[in-house]
């Protein structure tokens, strides 16, 4: 009921919402489509919010011309882009303004992009999309391991960039909305608590600093404990893009999430890897 009322409000406020609903409204669909219907509410809220403030993005990239062109492109897609051309400048801008998404180039003149990322992670758990012209698998893994939400090799199609940014925003919104349930609080016998109102996660009383991807993953896990979640399904639900067998992003995020949980409780790993298919959240294991 909650979701529906939001939808009505949004429709009334913004016609564009209709075009978004137009591409998927059936409810008796399989996994990939189900994702979209589940995220509808969240998506409509973004558009609703964009009435008040445009999506605000910070790009940290030393290529000035590239940033200028990208700003033009994103502006035409209702997104506002600020650019910083040095790592330091980027971190300063981050402290001064609030952004929804950060685009971070891996190669910067003053410091390594991964260094910027690790400093950034100390002050914020904002969603970071890494851009890299190196395009090596090692580079990608290092970036995701350092806490990036997603990775896009340069050159990329700007439409793809917009799609990725939208996916990030939807995750971010679902974090404060409680996508799976309408409750503002989600608890698990394992001691995990997701608070959608404050956008915070707790594990046995300790606050976890989670990125949106990790929060979304936990949300999905807590929603269906004890069931095997296929890797394909998880990728589609978390990243909202088709699964690719060579893409190890999901595994990188899960391993980061595991490490964060292990800081609180060292010897219990509630996330079980099911070989060659997916993951399983076993909440009963850590019933204290």
């Amino acid at each position: 009921m909650f979701a529906i009322s939001i939808r009505f409000a949004a429709v009334r406020l913004h016609k564009a919402v209709i075009t978004l609903f137009a591409f998927r409204t059936d409810n008796e669909s399989t996994h990939p489509t189900q994702v979209f219907s589940r995220t509808e509410a969240a998506s409509s809220l973004i558009l609703f919010k964009s009435e008040r403030h445009m999506t605000s993005i910070l790009i940290i990239d030393d290529d000035i011309e590239f940033c200028t062109m990208l700003r033009d492109y994103l502006t035409s897609h209702d997104m506002k882009l600020d650019a910083a051309h040095h790592g330091d400048a980027g971190l300063t801008a981050l402290r001064a303004h609030t952004y929804d998404v950060i685009l971070l180039d891996v190669m910067l003149p003053d410091m390594d992009g991964l260094e910027v990322l690790s400093r950034l992670r100390k002050i914020s758990d904002l969603s970071v999309l890494l851009l890299s012209a190196q395009g090596t698998e090692a580079n990608r893994i290092a970036g995701l391991d350092e806490g990036a939400d997603d990775y896009l090799p340069k050159p990329f199609n700007p439409r793809e960039l917009v799609a990725r940014i939208r996916a990030i925003l939807r995750r971010s919104e679902s974090r404060s909305l409680g996508r799976q349930t309408n409750a503002s609080l989600m608890k698990d016998p394992s001691g995990l608590v997701l608070n959608f109102a404050s956008r915070q996660a707790f594990y046995r009383g300790n606050r976890l600093r989670l990125t949106d991807v990790e929060f979304t993953l936990l949300n999905i896990f807590l929603d269906s404990p004890g069931t095997v979640l296929q890797r394909e399904e998880l990728v589609i639900r978390v990243f909202q893009r088709p699964f690719h067998p060579l893409d190890r992003s999901l595994d990188m995020h899960i391993s980061r999430l595991r490490r964060k949980l292990a800081v609180v409780e060292e010897f219990v790993d509630p996330i079980k890897t099911i070989r060659s298919s997916g993951y399983l959240f076993a909440s009963h294991v850590i019933n204290a």
Partner: protein, 460 residues
């Protein structure tokens, strides 16, 4: 003997030992100083006179006249060899007695375990006698630990061992550092050990210290070269891809601006720009991976891999590409093969081979991928065979297609003509895995590219 330490130690110690034993062998013979010779003569003459006195007095049975050492013996004989007094058996010593008497001087005979000395002695009444002394060696021949020379040998053990250590330990450090560098750890440097530093402090630097310095200098240069090359690759990739990134954004801006009103022709041109920039980007990627794969010597992350699952992982991607060219892919993997290697590298190699096959397949053609273990000259290998139904390659040019940018025909018939660099990358990857790639023509047209790798195991 593999240890230089043992070799040096034994060589030095043997040399020292032989010298000591040799000098120990000649204890009495080598009395060079006249004073010592006189003293010996005088001392023996006194012994002789005492024996003569005892003989004359008939007191030969007194053991007080015999030498202190039980192993030694002394006797007085007449010049014709008749034993008179003493405890030495002189029955076989006639030659010695005659010689000493004739020469009228001290004569010594050396035997393995003892020395015999004969000295003519003249009594106060003018009668000539000969004194015979048997003196047992306390010499090196009775081996270490039981002789006075053993102390010298013990000292020589310590000294030669120290000497060996001084030479061998720095060499071992050098060797360890060299091995690390060979394994790809270019940060490895050799540092002076405890003894070398101690010696360097008192100003004793030797050739080995110099060798270490030179080695470190060499490692430094090597590292900066390799780093330079890696940085160059990184920068080239950045410099080439940045304009492409700008191009992609500009293209999309142009598309947005031209909107729906623009003619289909404009759209087609824009699509062409996009297609060519995608090609350029993949070419850059290939060149970078080619220079990367050429720069490495060893595999760092070797794991066991199933060739079948490698093929299966690849299928969705290549199938998509095959559909674009209206050809289809057939796989046949009757028995899986496990090989050991770098998964990314092998996947890349496999992908290049399959893409190449797709590229040369005519519309409606078939690309077959086949994985099977094979026995060749007693060696079992995993063979991945990719065959297409394309035009094939002239027999004499078959092994040339593994060269980067080789063109089967000189005429550029379109952007897809030419083997590019994909097969060269695959070939290099195969070599790094101790395997090989062989290309041959298929009966009835088409090319077969075979990647064979050492078989690690066979899946059940």
């Amino acid at each position: 003997m593999h240890s230089l330490l043992a070799k040096i130690f034994l060589a030095y110690w043997l040399a020292a030992g032989v010298a000591i034993i040799y000098s120990d062998l000649q204890p009495h013979k080598l009395i060079h100083t006249p004073e010592l010779s006189d003293a010996l003569d005088t001392s023996l003459a006194i012994n002789g006179h005492s024996l003569i006195d005892a003989y004359k007095a008939g007191k030969c049975s007194s053991t007080a006249l015999w030498p202190n050492q039980a192993s030694d013996a002394i006797s007085l004989v007449s010049v014709d060899g008749k034993p008179l007094c003493g405890n030495l058996d002189t029955s076989s010593l006639h030659g010695l007695i005659t010689a000493a008497f004739a020469g009228n001087k001290r004569i010594a005979r050396d035997f393995a375990r003892y020395q015999l000395i004969a000295l003519p002695v003249t009594a106060n009444d003018g009668v000539h006698y000969v004194l015979l002394v048997k003196s047992k060696y306390t010499s090196a021949f009775q081996f270490f630990g039981f002789l006075p020379g053993s102390k010298t040998l013990e000292i020589s053990i310590v000294v030669t061992f120290f000497l060996a250590i001084l030479i061998v330990l720095p060499l071992r450090r050098l060797r360890a550092a060299a091995r690390q560098i060979a394994d790809g750890n270019l940060d490895a440097r050799v540092s002076a050990g405890f003894f070398s530093r101690l010696l360097a402090r008192i100003g004793l630097r030797d050739d080995i210290d110099g060798l270490m310095r030179d080695f470190n200098g060499m490692a430094e240069r090597l590292q900066s070269h390799v780093k330079g090359q890696q940085l160059l690759l990184r920068d080239v990739s950045h410099e080439l891809r940045s304009p492409l990134a700008r191009l992609a954004v500009a293209l999309e801006l142009a598309r947005d601006m031209s909107g729906d009103r623009s003619s289909a022709q404009v759209q087609a041109h824009l699509d062409r720009i996009e297609l060519e920039s995608v090609r350029l980007n993949s070419l850059i990627g290939h060149i970078l991976s080619f220079s990367y794969i050429q720069s490495i010597r060893d595999l760092h992350h070797s794991v066991d891999l199933s060739l079948t699952s490698l093929v299966n992982e690849l299928l969705p991607d290549v199938q998509y590409e095959a559909e674009g060219r209206q050809c289809h892919i057939v796989t046949s993997t009757p028995r899986d093969c496990i090989v050991s290697g770098d998964s990314d590298m092998l996947r890349h190699a496999l992908e290049n081979i399959v893409r190449n096959a797709i590229r040369y397949s005519p519309a409606g053609g078939t690309v077959e991928i086949n994985v099977a273990p094979e026995q060749n000259n007693g060696q079992r290998s995993a063979v991945l065979r990719v065959s297409d139904t394309g035009p094939g390659v002239a027999e004499d040019k078959l092994n040339l297609i593994l060269n980067p940018f080789y063109r089967a025909s000189d005429v550029r018939r379109g952007s897809s003509n030419g083997f590019g660099i994909g097969l060269a990358i695959a070939d290099r990857a195969a070599h790094l895995h101790s395997g090989k790639i062989v290309a041959r023509n298929r009966e009835g047209g088409g090319l077969i590219v075979e990647l064979s790798l050492p078989l690690a195991a066979m899946a059940s």
